[in-house]
Structure formats: structure tokens, C-alpha cells
Symmetry: C2
Subunit: 281 residues, 2 copies
């Protein structure tokens, strides 16, 4: 395993940790201030949300690289299946363009839930695979890879039809495109006793590793994630499995926390994040 | 598959469907009225919660049987592991005694979460297996079986260390007692693409099958379950897998619904439940 106590260059900030994924949350720092604060602390990269980027993808990507970091990823396409999915892939293609403009290789997909008129998840996974295959062809021309992110099963119905890394892999195989892989997020997978085996199968399909913690007493389904070390996820064991599968890329910290971390000064959040990354991840 | 359109004798009411599992919810019908309402509609059985029974286990069990039904199960032992577990098995043994008094063979176990001082779920599962083995010996002498109920992974941390039927089976095997099995609840397992395979392995370890539905847009982690047919769970496919594994026992309806079904007249709830059981389960 990599030694993060001495080297935090694999650490990336997902700006959701500062509340930047939703309107009305966080301290509202401009993108430039976020970039500077990450660079000052020695982070290796940043993951943005589309709402922060607008028409400034190229400019922001260059700014990140000028500060000595990488744009590690972009969150995320619109839903591709389920009740909230748009009828076409136009917006999904635009998000691929934005990722290409930023100069990042990884565009995350939260799939959307159970396709209207169907039950369960398997039919939706089949429909999803067809749409992912189409989007992957468009993305390949722009050197962008698509990272399917399985979500905790509590997000079934309206947000996801992929509940495990194994589910995501089966859609990867069905889509059959080399630039489709999996994003592994501690919040969503910490409970899965089959995780290590699924990760071994995933191998070089692992396109991202997301850190946070699962609080013992989760008070809100969406916005109550814990800082690493404050919960019950076995962070060392999960990273060991991720790295044993061959992953040596960035580790992005993504903490949705409306009651706690989003209430704090972003400088404090970043300092604690760096300290926890060095010591408990 | 059994044909429920003509025969509802496998149908059992879990009294949580009327809000009877929590203080301050539901219409507050006395146990006798619940028994009569179920018998009038032709149900085969009832599952009670400990709080309804008190010192009247034998009396209530006899009353149910006099009405032509069975006591299908009792909810539930206290947590056996995790932050909310009592330090001894005394209360768990008392719940076995209550099940025996009621004349039911099935006592459900919701395990409790991650044992303090540990991370993840696997260490807790090992500790759990030891405690289940002890309790199983006590239960066997009273002709009671213990049904380990895996919960949706959103209940990890403080409520469960078993997230899948496969997890529950691994604890069954480790506990090594013939009177330990699994309760399969649609709410907790509907999303699991490995479910059919796990159920085949479970075979005669399946001690119960619980019905409700997973609402597309779940508004509350604990108390927003759907009536069968109102959600996205593939109820027919799940029952097919449960019955293919050899299960031919009762199907209990267990709907925690503080905003909807617990607000309605229990007669309406029971009538809709019977209709949905006949048509969509």
C-alpha cells in the first residue's frame, strides 16, 4: 500500500466536500480560491461539478495545471435511465465536452434509477448498457472515460440501478467499450463483503477511488457523510483491496455534509481532510 | 408458484403495518381487534412485536389459534452486537421465552450494527455468530428458530451487520446450529442481483418472507415503505426465487409508513393489503 503519511500527492478534493455540488450550501468560494487553497496544501488534484464550470472549462483546467495539479474528474452526466433521465443523450454529450475542455479523463456517471414501466434493476441495467455504449463512443473521440459509480442500495428507485461494483462491472461488460469503468466510493461500498473479489475482477476498470466515512448513526440519506475516521468504514482494508486490484490513481475526498462540514470554514475542512488522509486512510 | 389470487391462507399480517411496532403511531387497536379483523378476512396468521405482548403470550397465542390462524413470528430480539446491544443475552432469552409462550416457531433477529472498537462488518459478523450460537441452544430447547434478517445496507452502522442474504447465510454457517435461518424481506433485498443464487444456497434455511414495496422516491430511511404494487420491487420475481429455493411458508406484510398507511383506518389498510396480495405479489 502507498504511504500517505509522507506523500499526499494522490489526494484530490472533490468540491462537494465544500458544499459546491448544491445551491445554497457551503461558503461559496470562487473556483480560483479553491484551486489556490488545494495547491497551497500540496494536493494532487481537484474534481469539479458541472455547475461550477459553466463555459469556463478550458480556462479552469489550465488554471488547475498552472497551480501544479490535475483535474482528476468531473461530476457528472445527467441520469441515463430511470424517472429523472432526459429523453436524449444531448446533455450527457455536453458533459463529455466539458470534461474534455477541462482536460480530465474521468467523467462520473450516476446512472439514475429504475426505468419507468419496469421493476427491479436488471431491465434498467440492460437499457443503461446500451446508452453507455453510445455515450462511450462519443467520449472515446474526446479521450474521456466514463466511470460508472454504484451507489448504496438506499439510492435505488430514483437515483441508481447499480448497487455494487459487481453490478457496475456487468454493465461495463455489456457495454463492451474500453473507456468505460467503475468509480469506487467508500460511502457506497463499505458494507459489501464481496467487495475485494469484485475489485479483483474490476482490475484496470477502476477509474476512481472516493473517500469519506459512513457515520454510525446516519441522520440523512444524502447529506450526512462523515469525514474519514469519524465512521465505521474500514478505510485501510478497502484501500488495500483497491490497490491490490492494481489501482494507483488519485483518491478524492467527497463529503456531502449539510449539518457539519459544510457549516465550517473551508480552510478548516481542508486542513482536517489532509490530516485524516495522512493518518487514517 | 402458489396462486394467491384464489388462496390467501399464506398471508400474514405483521402488526407493524398498522403502526404497532412504535409508540405514538397507528390507530391503537387492541390485540383482540387485530386478531378478529385478520380472521374475518381469511388471513392465515399474524406476526406480533414484543411490545404488544407483555405478559400475555400464552393467552394471545391461544386466541390467534382459536380464530383459526397461526402466530407466524415474533419481532424481535434486542440487538446482539453493535452500539445498541445490551451487555448480556438475558433480554434475548426472554424474547425466546415469549416466542415459545405465543406458540410461534420463528423469532426474528435484527442484529445490530458494527461492534464498538471495530470497523466494517466482518468482525461484527464473527462476534454475532458466537452470540447467535449461544442463543440458538437456548431456543432449541423451547422449539424456537432464530431468523437472521439482513437489512438494506443503509442500516449499517447502528442497526445491522448483515446486508445481504449471503451475509446472513455465512453467519448461519458459522453459528452451526440447525435452528438458525434467514428472514427474507423485500424491502431489504429487492436490489440484490445475486439474490436468486443466495436463496438457492439458503434452501430450507429460509424461515420467513416479508412483503412490502420499495417506493421510487423514499422520503425517510425507516418509516416510508410502500404497499405492494406501489413501488419498484419486482415482487413476482422475488417470490419466484424464494419458492424455487423451497420455501412454501407464510408471507407476512410488514409496512412501516408513518406518512401514509399509518394515517389510514386499519380496515382500509387490511382490505388494500388483501387485494394487493391477491393481485401483485
Amino acid at each position: 500500500m502507498r504511504d500517505f503519511s509522507r506523500d499526499i500527492s494522490p489526494l484530490a478534493l472533490n468540491t462537494a466536500t465544500l458544499g459546491h455540488n448544491l445551491d445554497g450550501y457551503g461558503a461559496g468560494w470562487p473556483v480560483e480560491r479553491v484551486i489556490d487553497a488545494c495547491a497551497e496544501r500540496g494536493l494532487g488534484g481537484i474534481v469539479f461539478w458541472r455547475r461550477e464550470i459553466g463555459a469556463r472549462a478550458v480556462e479552469i483546467g489550465e488554471r488547475v495545471r498552472a497551480a501544479g495539479m490535475e483535474v482528476v474528474g468531473l461530476c457528472r452526466t445527467p441520469y441515463l435511465v430511470g424517472p429523472g433521465a432526459p429523453g436524449t443523450l444531448d446533455e450527457a454529450r455536453a458533459s463529455v465536452d466539458m470534461a474534455a475542455g477541462l482536460g480530465t479523463r474521468v467523467l462520473t456517471i450516476v446512472t439514475g434509477g429504475t426505468e419507468p414501466g419496469t421493476k427491479g434493476v436488471e431491465e434498467s441495467q440492460k437499457i443503461l448498457a446500451g446508452r453507455v455504449a453510445k455515450l462511450a463512443a462519443y467520449a472515446a473521440e474526446r479521450d474521456v472515460a466514463l466511470a460508472l459509480e454504484p451507489l448504496n442500495p438506499m439510492f435505488g428507485g430514483n437515483r441508481t440501478c447499480l448497487m455494487t461494483v459487481r453490478d457496475a462491472l456487468s454493465v461495463c461488460e455489456r457495454a463492451g467499450a474500453p473507456n468505460v469503468g467503475v468509480a469506487v466510493d467508500v460511502y457506497h461500498v463499505w458494507w459489501d463483503t464481496g467487495l475485494a473479489e469484485s475489485l479483483r475482477e474490476a482490475g484496470n476498470r477502476i477509474l476512481g477511488y472516493h473517500l469519506c466515512d459512513w457515520r454510525e448513526d446516519t441522520r440523512d440519506m444524502l447529506l450526512d457523510r462523515g469525514m474519514m475516521g469519524d465512521g465505521v468504514a474500514d478505510l485501510k482494508a478497502i484501500r488495500r483491496a483497491v490497490e491490490a486490484a492494481g489501482y494507483a490513481g488519485p483518491c478524492e475526498v467527497e463529503i456531502f455534509s449539510s449539518r457539519d462540514w459544510w457549516q465550517r470554514d473551508p480552510n478548516e475542512v481542508l486542513d482536517v481532510m489532509v490530516e485524516r488522509f495522512r493518518t487514517v486512510c
